[in-house]
Symmetry: C2
Subunit: 352 residues, 2 copies
């Protein structure tokens, strides 16, 4: 067993973990590992927003165009596709792409075919919306968690490696304890989101600046390989409670520090749904996320039923779960929205 | 809103709380307050153990004798009576008594009528068992929590006062954050329980020494004033889950650091059950208690259903809940058992 914090990211502590040194988690979990040369990663959410059947084809074509752009030499090392219908009834398709090098990402962004397309005035007038939500955490600023060591998801894929089983999991506060920065920093939020350009309204190209220590989580599950009792447990017992929690955050999250929540299902390149989903949310702070997770009945129930679930199945799950959590400095965030409705992503709750 | 840690017990921190300074709990709670002159309290568990109907009268008489002893001038400021049947099928009746001054407690103990009775060889041969489990925490070493400010329980009664609503509650880790010692100390356990005299077996007078940082909790609820939906919720939804958790600790607690757990119901002076109960447990450490509370499905479910419950009732509960938690130094613990079976209290798990 090792710490979730990679050896080269350990530093003299000014803040303690929540656990004693002899803590032994009740079941194993793993964190992704990257070579020491990797100092910063990029998690890019490239969205296409549309409303109604008649714009569906146009939206799909736009998404495919974005994905084709990933194939260039400086493109991402990994990407997923996902879809959800938001509270305003819009379809949002998102290509989620990961780079292990921000310089490569910047080159990719600046390549004429990518950049010209993104800057074109046509994007504003096509009748569909676009967004880019880019998180670029330095390796001290994020953590990952997997319930199996054999197949990574998300940023774990571009990190390329996996820890042995880790100590800091299966207790409240372990998320914070896995982030290297928590060794010395409370990750307190300061400042507010700011509109850097445009107005948060349809027909606009809007850039939003994130404040200090915005927290972001992508938390996913795959039930492809579940069978029998486990499948029933997930689909009939856990998923409805998970959905209830996700709906709460989507509809009432702002009041508790959740700027945006999307409960998304993976789709394949042909748009067909896969048996994989995730919640993606942005928060004022890691503390706000912790408070919700620990006190909202739906999330406490999710945690409780997961605990019961893994014990009932004697820790032999076919359900795959993972998450990645980042706490972001202003220079690690870049949000841009083109012709999106004003409750999209980080626009949500900003004055028009 | 104020800190659960009384002003005069605050000191420069070397350890942080789990919450941000701007944390606002979702519902109010209170901590008991004592005058500054009080530096240490005594929580005494005076037990009578018997098995079978035919010894019931003798056990009741013994309990009444103990209670009569409380009436002396140096007696406790408050006491309760409670009963449970343990895993070995023994009836255990306990008088739980509180002093706000250890010197008064020592004088009470040393008074000839009390001391002679306790030391008498008759206690060993009467056919029933006796125990004294005495915790004497200094005020830095314990915390209390109440969901109403108008009526204290337990040590809160002898402390005599109540805070305004406190900040450190309704999150995992708040128990630790309410203990003044947590400002500077991880409260890590060291050492083991030791047999100071006798053998842990029936027919013996056994004294047990507690190790550094044994954690003790009395966590109670009263449903006397609940009605309608709330009463049904408590009795049919919460209580069975609570009982399941209590049974787990009683039967399988040793493996996770719980030396002893008793789920007891209050009784009146005539032995009739009241609509009040509590769990009383001793642990190797506060960390072990935290880990169980946060990961055992029954306790997570209790917490989740309590959260749902208070929100469903718009925080207007008639159910009264409270707890008191101490982390004890060796000199704050005194355990003595006379003719008790070897799984009684702190004897549990010691080699015979």
């Amino acid at each position: 067993m090792e710490s979730a914090i990679a050896e080269h990211l350990k530093c003299p502590r000014t803040r303690h973990r929540r656990i004693e040194d002899d803590y032994a988690p009740p079941y194993p979990a793993w964190s992704a590992r990257a070579p020491q040369a990797i100092g910063q990663v990029v998690m890019g959410f490239f969205g296409v927003q549309s409303r109604g059947r008649e714009l569906h084809g146009r939206a799909c074509a736009a998404l495919m165009n974005i994905v084709r752009g990933f194939a260039s030499p400086d493109g991402p090392g990994h990407h997923d596709l996902a879809h959800h219908v938001d509270a305003d009834g819009y379809d949002n398709m998102v290509a989620i792409a990961y780079w292990d090098d921000p310089a490569r990402f910047e080159r990719w962004c600046a390549a004429p075919d990518i950049d010209d397309w993104w800057r074109s005035d046509e994007r504003v007038t096509e009748g569909i919306g676009y967004f880019r939500e880019i998180a670029m955490p330095r390796v001290e600023h994020y953590e990952t968690l997997f319930n199996t060591p054999d197949r990574a998801e998300g940023v774990g894929v571009v990190m390329g490696g996996m820890s042995t089983d880790i100590q800091e999991h299966a207790y409240w506060g372990s998320m914070r304890d896995r982030i290297p920065l928590s060794q010395t920093d409370a990750m307190t939020p300061t400042g507010t989101r700011t509109v850097l350009g445009g107005r948060p309204a349809p027909g606009q190209r809007v850039r939003i600046g994130g404040h200090e220590n915005v927290a972001m989580i992508r938390s996913g599950q795959e039930w492809t390989e579940t069978q029998g009792q486990e499948r029933t447990l997930y689909l009939e017992d856990m998923e409805p409670v998970l959905r209830e929690g996700m709906d709460f955050l989507r509809d009432q999250g702002l009041g508790i520090g959740c700027y945006s929540n999307r409960y998304m299902q993976h789709i394949d390149a042909g748009g067909e749904p896969l048996q994989k989903s995730f919640g993606l949310s942005f928060w004022r702070s890691l503390a706000d996320m912790e408070r919700w997770a620990e006190s909202h009945p739906t999330h406490v129930a999710i945690f409780g039923s997961f605990m019961r679930y893994v014990q009932a199945l004697n820790f032999q799950l076919q359900l795959r779960v993972y998450h990645e959590v980042s706490v972001l400095k202003p220079d690690e965030q870049r949000y841009e929205y083109i012709n999106c409705h004003p409750r999209t992503g980080l626009l949500n709750g900003l004055p028009a």
